[in-house]
């Protein structure tokens, strides 16, 4: 198959899928290696962006997904009578952040960190498909664990969890303490080295 034709086949697949499609699965069908398919997706994504088309291609982890370009969201929503999803509440953001950074986590863990019952919020995030179930933990009671979804990555403009912003350093005192300790250790090692 010629490259342009491959590109348009991929376009058709991503259009029809309506959800993230693993690069590997496309590569298998198209009898191409993963790198080629990934490069073609990237080309297509660049073309879309350059031409300011109505759709765009979004990469999340090892998947590509076709979405509308965010700049047209308002007229699209208006025409289709879709509601703009409401902003996430501070509570929802906190629970989501805990899941994102410490996944997979149980509800009990979330509640330990937040210090309050969080079952409603966990349910809400599940419903909005920002988190999903991720198997049960092998402890008594076998509690369900949760992790973030592709939808989470997409709506937060991340292509993988590695791109999550770094957590701020712990409290001021903790930082000072750690620095002190590290410098003390360094000093100690210097001295040791000097002694040898």
């Amino acid at each position: 198959m010629e490259l342009k034709e491959l590109e348009h086949t991929i376009e058709g697949i991503l259009f029809a899928a309506g959800e993230p499609v693993p690069v590997g699965r496309m590569a298998a069908t198209l009898e191409q290696d993963v790198e080629t398919v990934d490069r073609l997706c990237r080309n297509l994504a660049d073309e879309y962006r350059f031409d300011r088309r109505g759709m765009c291609l979004v990469r999340t982890e090892d998947c590509w997904q076709m979405c509308t370009a965010p700049e047209y969201a308002d007229p699209i929503r208006q025409t289709l009578e879709h509601r703009k999803p409401p902003k996430l509440s501070q509570t929802a953001l906190e629970v989501l952040t805990i899941v994102a950074y410490f996944q997979p986590v149980t509800r009990a863990y979330i509640e330990q960190i937040r210090g309050v019952d969080s079952s409603y919020t966990v349910g809400l995030l599940l419903e909005r498909q920002l988190i999903e179930e991720a198997g049960r933990l092998a402890v008594p009671g076998r509690p369900m664990q949760f992790r973030t979804t592709h939808q989470f990555l997409r709506t937060f403009g991340l292509s993988s969890l590695d791109e999550l912003p770094e957590l701020p350093a712990p409290s001021q005192e903790g930082v000072q303490m750690t620095l002190d300790l590290e410098s003390a250790i360094a000093k100690m090692q210097e001295e040791e080295a000097g002694e040898v």
Partner: protein, 270 residues
């Protein structure tokens, strides 16, 4: 050898009492734990012991005030753990260990929560933009028929709630909703009847269904059907077969269409 006694009251009650004093050593332990990628409850005693001994060796030569409490804590940790190892039934050691662990965990959770709260605003800004990526719906595979997705019954009530909330129930229905009820699209039954007779004379026997081929609207179909009834009534055609497969034959191949009643043939289907 005398058993040294350390009191960790202040540590284990870290949540209730003045935290400031004890943030330090706890943080240090947590820092070491996180550096070694360990769970609090699985602290390998040998590692702590190594570090502890190292500190003990160095502490006289270095000014390590800041870490002194860590040393005390590490010492006590090792002491408790040793007691646990020597006697599985040392309940006091067990519960003290539990308390210490709980305090460490509570402290760690508090730290995590502070960090989480610190990053939520960054994430909120990303979401404000990212929620505008609208995914398209999955399209049916080429040639896919029927419906295979499995739903929850609640999807139905949720759908109804959306209809209610949109509150468009009172909106006037579009004109095309009344198409076929009030639309003006006249197909004179008489014209249709003549057409049917012509068809039969030209082609002989015809399948009933064949008459509707090429009918472009509901009105036209109704007119064709009424014409067939009309022709049966006036014995000009003969209808045979089952409801699935019936044929029409013309009984008077040379006759003209003659409505039985005055209004019958002149009827127009609106």
């Amino acid at each position: 050898m005398d058993v040294p006694v350390y009191h960790l009251d202040k540590v284990v009650k870290v949540r209730k009492e003045d935290m400031e004093d004890f943030d330090g050593p706890l943080d240090l332990i947590l820092h070491l734990l996180s550096k070694n990628k360990m769970e609090i409850r699985d602290i390998p005693i040998s590692l702590l012991l190594d570090q502890y001994l190292e500190w003990m060796e160095q502490r006289e030569r270095l000014n390590l005030e800041v870490a002194s409490e860590f040393v005390i804590m590490a010492a006590h940790l090792i002491y408790i753990k040793t007691r646990m190892l020597l006697s599985v039934d040392d309940q006091e050691a067990l519960s003290e260990m539990e308390q210490l662990m709980a305090a460490l965990e509570a402290h760690q959770h508090k730290e995590s929560y502070e960090q989480v709260k610190g990053v939520t605003q960054v994430l909120a800004q990303r979401y404000a933009y990212g929620r505008d990526y609208l995914p398209g719906p999955p399209r049916p595979l080429p040639q896919e028929k029927g419906y295979r997705y499995q739903h929850q019954p609640q999807d139905l009530t949720a759908a109804l709630q959306r209809i209610f909330q949109r509150g468009e129930g009172a909106a006037a229905p579009p004109t095309r909703a009344f198409q076929g009820i009030v639309g003006r699209e006249p197909y004179p039954v008489e014209t249709k009847a003549r057409w049917i007779l012509d068809q039969l004379r030209a082609g002989g026997v015809t399948h009933f269904r064949a008459l509707f081929r090429g009918n472009r609207s509901r009105s036209e179909i109704v007119a064709t059907f009424l014409a067939v009834l009309e022709l049966c009534k006036s014995n000009q055609i003969y209808l045979a077969g089952t409801s699935e497969d019936s044929t029409l034959t013309c009984t008077q191949p040379n006759g003209e269409f003659s409505p039985e009643t005055d209004d019958g043939g002149g009827q127009t289907w609106n």
